[in-house]
């Protein structure tokens, strides 16, 4: 059973005029479904905030429609938590100003919202005294107290440390599945995106370029630009070869560099191959399984948890991650020759339309 | 927290009381109040002349005093206050010489010995001014007292200085003569507690009757659009006198200068100037000298 669609945007067009010039946001179709989190990815200035505000009803589109078919409110939480003067409980009660609910009902909802985000013990504290993480929880509690049908979040994890982010995403995830709310979220943190997203939408220069299930978008971006945005940063141009390796197609990226892929494309097609860094394996000596050729190490950066290795391969720079502390990570040096490999199911093809 | 806009002072040309005269805290405060609005030219004070605002506003002193200065090398400072205050300053010895026009109070001062001489030098007449339409019929009144009775009977608006000045005292005398409450008391009787100019402005604004000295009235007449409705009458006679404070209470140099001033005011040349003063500006002289 699929989740119900609660908010639909169709043929959206929003024009913004500012001193820096005009900017247009277009989105053909975007749906927000209950109990789902849609993460919106895009470079700075690609229109993420404008899209959020239009979905929230704060901007009026110049074309197209945004329709909410839900029975509950559409609400938004902004990047800066903006607490109101007064106690934490008062802040959450603000959501009920002017509402017809009884005071008992209100109290129950307020308590419920505070508990959901584990700040019920701070109910009578002045909101101004809260820490950054507690303020973010307050902002979410305030929004959830409304029992929203649709919730739009702008950078909900900004400024939190790793533990804080982990804890908050857990509570948020639970809140989403408990209440069935449809969530759209803007975040710069790819990891957070991958953890929370059920579906992903990608904006390129104001255009909604791709929207789909998380893995579909992450593993099968439609264009090289989208691939960059979703973290498939290893891209190289090649031609689909007439040869086959078993059932697999081969892409010639260079004379020494042929990559096997499960994707299907007619021979002779010019393509981009894309491999997510986490799917690119590097080893010294002969690569055994699924080799794609040799490369030379250009950089090794160790941040204590992960080692990022940059490798020159077929004239392109590829990137992969190794766990710090493992033998290979410790021994890799700049200039070393390495063998690269990638499983064919992880080699994605994008037709090269630039020819 | 205060944003007041300064005290309006009645002090004229730079004035300050002589430094040796601080007799009581009250005088100290008075001195400070005056000092607050004036230059501190205490060292240059040769002669403290206290007069009334109407005399100062007439401009006569500004014409005569430069001549006095050139002739005698004495530099007088003018302080202009209400008649009551002027007489009090004379009584308390806070002035060297007075030029006032409140005969009753002046006579008292002489009697008490605070002041050693009273020399009338010029006169003019108060005027009862009012709107040209003259709703109360002041023009036809037989006497100024009668005029006041008519104004009261018509409950026409009247503006009084109510500041114990010479003009105010004359007004009170007229009201008494008319058998009326000296504080006025009919609806429309307003009290400004202020100088003649301010009082005339209010009268002009309200189209009211007002008793004024001739000089100030002539200066304001066009602006406030009121007319003089009374005739010169003994009860409106306004005599200006020079009073010298008892020399025993002054230092000899100042007492001598006070005498010089009195002599100057009586001088033929000065009296001639007084006789002509105002003709240019108002078409007729403001004062009639008493010793031509």
């Amino acid at each position: 059973m699929s989740n119900p669609t609660l908010l639909s945007a169709r043929d959206l067009r929003v024009e913004l005029r500012s001193r820096r010039g005009s900017f247009q946001l277009t989105a053909d179709a975007l749906d927000l479904r209950g109990r789902e989190a849609l993460v919106i990815l895009g470079a700075n200035g690609s229109g993420k905030s404008t899209l959020m505000r239009t979905l929230a009803g704060l901007e009026h589109p110049d074309g197209g429609t945004v329709v909410s078919v839900a029975t509950g409110p559409v609400t938004m939480v902004f990047q800066r938590p903006a607490p109101f003067a007064g106690s934490v409980a008062h802040n959450v009660r603000v959501s009920f100003l002017g509402s017809k609910r009884s005071s008992v009902d209100r109290r129950v909802r307020v308590e419920e919202a505070l508990e959901r985000f584990k700040i019920d013990h701070l109910a009578e504290h002045r909101a101004a005294t809260l820490s950054g993480g507690e303020l973010r929880r307050l902002a979410l509690a305030r929004a959830f107290a409304l029992h929203p049908a649709v919730l739009l979040l702008d950078e909900p994890f900004a400024g939190l440390d790793a533990d804080g982010q982990a804890a908050l995403s857990l509570d948020l995830r639970r809140a989403i599945s408990d209440t069935g709310v449809a969530v759209a979220m803007v975040t710069h943190d790819m990891r957070r995106a991958m953890l929370l997203a059920d579906r992903i939408a990608v904006l390129i220069d104001g255009k909604l370029a791709q929207i789909g299930l998380r893995d579909d978008v992450l593993e099968r971006p439609a264009t090289p630009e989208i691939a960059q945005v979703v973290g498939m940063t290893n891209l190289a141009r090649g031609v689909v070869s007439a040869d086959l390796r078993g059932d697999l197609a081969l892409v010639e990226v260079g004379p020494e560099h042929r990559v096997a892929t499960q994707a299907e494309c007619p021979p002779g097609t010019r393509v981009w191959i894309g491999i997510r860094p986490e799917h690119l394996k590097v080893d010294v000596g002969r690569g055994t399984v699924d080799p794609i050729g040799k490369g030379v190490v250009r950089g090794v950066v160790n941040d204590g948890v992960t080692v990022t290795v940059r490798v020159d391969w077929a004239g392109t720079e590829l990137r992969t991650f190794l766990m710090a502390g493992r033998g290979l990570a410790r021994s890799l040096e700049v200039g070393a020759e390495v063998s690269l490999s990638a499983s064919p199911e992880h080699v994605h093809l994008i037709p090269d339309r630039s020819v | 927290m205060t944003r007041s806009s300064g005290i309006e002072c009645e002090a004229g040309v730079s004035s300050a009381p002589p430094m040796g005269r601080l007799r009581s805290p009250r005088l100290l405060i008075a001195a400070l109040a005056v000092l607050a609005c004036s230059d501190q030219a205490a060292e240059k004070s040769d002669l403290l002349l206290v007069t009334t605002t109407s005399v100062r506003d007439s401009g006569l002193l500004y014409e005569l005093l430069p001549i006095f200065e050139k002739r005698t090398d004495v530099r007088p400072q003018i302080v202009a206050v209400g008649s009551g205050a002027a007489l009090r300053m004379g009584r308390d010895g806070n002035a060297d010489v007075l030029l006032t026009h409140a005969p009753d109070g002046e006579t008292e001062l002489v009697a008490s010995g605070a002041v050693v001489s009273r020399t009338p030098i010029m006169e003019n007449y108060f005027v009862i001014a009012g709107p040209p339409e003259d709703p109360a019929g002041v023009r036809g009144a037989a006497s100024p007292a009668n005029a006041m009775r008519r104004i009261a009977a018509a409950t026409a608006p009247f503006v009084s200085r109510a500041d114990d000045s010479g003009t105010h005292r004359r007004e009170v005398a007229l009201l008494k003569e008319a058998g009326l409450d000296p504080a006025g008391g009919w609806p429309g009787f307003a009290r400004t507690g202020a100088g003649m100019g301010q009082t005339l402005e209010v009268a002009g604004e309200r189209r009211a009757y007002v008793l004024s000295d001739a000089g100030t009235f002539l200066a304001f007449r066009e602006r406030i659009e009121l007319e003089s409705l009374s005739q010169p009458d003994p009860s409106l006679r306004n005599v200006y006198s020079v009073l010298r404070v008892d020399p025993e209470r002054l230092d000899p140099a100042r007492a001598a200068r006070a005498e010089q001033f009195e002599a100057f005011m009586l001088d033929t040349e000065t009296q001639r100037l007084i006789a002509e003063f105002g003709r240019e500006r108002f078409g007729r002289p403001l004062f009639r000298p008493l010793h031509p």
Binding site: - | S4, D163, A194
Partner: protein
């Protein structure tokens, strides 16, 4: 020549309170909404409007008094109202003096709010009526500063009030103008008596407002 002084004290004090509190109420009623409106929005000419207000805040009160006088005198544009030398004129002058203060301080208080504040309130579904209440609540310390400043200026104003009111006994005489008059007439005991009452009034009112302000901080 003056009526019994003590009887007048009560009358003058009552009139002072009536005039000053009216002027305060009007300048708050007019100035607070303007300050909130100007502070919340970005619009063309906002910089010009704010500069105008800052100039108004520094304007000498006596100049305001002069302008009101010129406007209200018989030969002036509003002479028909016959407001010169009346309580209306005094309240008007004081309102004009206090208005830039109120608008300026309120504007600054609203401007110090987060940019997203208004948006957040809207998206929480707070109805328009309540949004204003919430805003006032957020800036209430700033608003109190505006009230205290305006009240102080109004209570101590003497020049403008004298010029447009005329200090007429029983009609437009208030504490400040009466103090001035008695001082000029040399009646210093009366002047001091009035001054004591004025200072007492200021202390009481300022004290009350400060107590409210400080309680808001805890």
């Amino acid at each position: 020549m003056n009526p019994p002084f003590d009887a007048m004290l009560i009358e003058i004090t009552a009139r002072t309170l009536a005039v000053c509190l009216s002027a305060l109420a009007i300048s708050l009623a007019v100035g607070l909404p303007i300050g909130i409106a100007l502070g919340s929005r970005r619009f063309k000419g906002r910089v010009a409007a704010v500069s105008l207000i800052n100039t108004g805040m520094g304007a000498p009160p006596i100049v305001v008094g002069l302008i009101v006088y010129l406007a209200l005198q018989r030969s002036g544009p509003f002479g028909g109202l016959s407001w010169l030398y009346s309580l209306e004129a005094m309240v008007l002058a004081q309102v004009l003096i206090a208005l830039p203060l109120v608008v300026g301080i309120t504007l600054a208080a609203v401007g110090s709010l987060d940019d997203d504040w208004e948006l957040q309130v809207r998206t929480l579904g707070v109805p328009k009526r309540w949004r204003l209440w919430l805003l006032v609540r957020e800036i209430r310390l700033g608003l109190l500063a505006a009230v205290i400043t305006a009240l102080g200026g109004i209570l101590s104003e003497v020049g403008a009030v004298m010029a447009v009111g005329g200090n007429l006994e029983g009609e437009t005489r208030v504490l400040t103008t009466a103090i001035l008059m008695h001082t000029q007439m040399g009646q210093l005991e009366e002047a001091l008596g009035l001054a004591t009452i004025l200072v007492g009034l200021m202390l009481i009112l300022a004290g009350l407002l400060t107590a409210v302000q400080q309680s808001g901080r805890t």
